[in-house]
Amino acid sequence: MSQTGKYLYAVIRAPARESLTSGYGLRGQPLELIEHRGLVAIASGVDLEEFGEVGLRHNLEDLSWLEEVARVHHRVVQFVFTTTPAAPLRLATICVDSEAVLARLAALHDEIDAVLERISGSAEWGVKMYLRIPTPSSSGQQPSTPRAEQAARTGASYLQRKRSEANQRKVGEEYAVEAARSVHTELSAVAVASRLLRPQDPKLSGHPDKLVLNAAYLVRSDREQEFVTRSEEVLAGQDQYELVRFGPWPPYSFAGLDDA
């Protein structure tokens, strides 16, 4: 049998609940708690043939492998996060054995502690804002309002609609950037911290509209409702935009040691 290493999911503060060891990680291996000076790493055993340098190099290129590992990683971190503040580790953080985990915890103790301090009591919310791109087929097949449906039936209305679509595109793109900035400002005001993420390629996100905001917000649990409400109201009446919100998530975007 090949060598077994430790895959790390997250670090929490001691004491860790014993119930965490009832969970399972990658490849069905039980979760383990590795403790050092008040910090506990949540880990599970992995085969180093699959997760060692050579295996990783190959496997990370395999999208289905990557997806499976990412989903299990997320599931475990979520599981831990439901019980206690957790600093998630980046995907595929692997140590050869428990001693190596201890060494890493020792080396990064103060930084990890600072991260836990910062994210304690908060969760990450993701917000994506799209500018809807009207297409002839979508507006013909899926009229968004009864009025649009009626308009689609008559010639004059048709021309009017085409003109308004063209206008909307032109004006829309110009205003979208400004609108996105204002949404970001509004939401950031309710958050402990915020971060703009990379734009996503539509071919990968599968979303046809134009992404104008891809952001993450660290929100304290006592302001969650306020954040949700504000995200629902911030674009009220502006049907040219779609806002997608997800959370609460573990604070992935706010656990980087370099932010500490």
């Binding site: 119930s19 009832s22 969970g23 399972y24 180093l48 997760f51 060692g52 340098e53 990783l56 190099r57 990370l60 290129e61 999208l63 990557l66 997806e67 990412a70 989903r71 299990v72 990683h73 997320h74 599931r75 979520q78 599981f79 998630p88 580790l89 980046r90 995907l91 595929a92 953080t93 692997i94 140590c95 050869v96 054995d97 001693e99 190596a100 990064l108 990450e124 993701g126 994506k128 993420l197 990379r198 996503q200 390629d201 071919k203 990968l204 996100s205 599968g206 891809n214 993450a216 997800f246 998530w249 992935y252 975007s253 706010f254 656990a255 980087g256 040691l257």
Partner: protein
């Protein structure tokens, strides 16, 4: 409460892989360097995985040396 369903879809609606990777790879701890994972010619995410792999290597080497030294 069933803490750990065998399948991973139950806890929340399926999250898009891109959103997940934005976070699982975008944020991070001690790693730097870049490789690009691509899917059908599209850069999926510009990820800092190169050093991640290097760190695994360093860890393995350290462990190997340690074993030789202390055994």
């Amino acid at each position: 409460m069933s803490l750990f369903p065998a399948a991973d879809q139950e806890l929340e609606p399926q999250v898009s892989l891109v959103d997940l990777l934005d976070r699982l790879l975008g944020a991070g701890v001690v790693l730097s360097g870049d490789i690009v994972i691509s899917l059908a010619g599209v850069d999926l995410v510009q990820i800092r995985l190169h050093a991640l792999i290097a760190s695994v290597r360093a860890d393995m080497e350290r462990s190997a040396t340690g074993r030789v030294g202390t055994a």
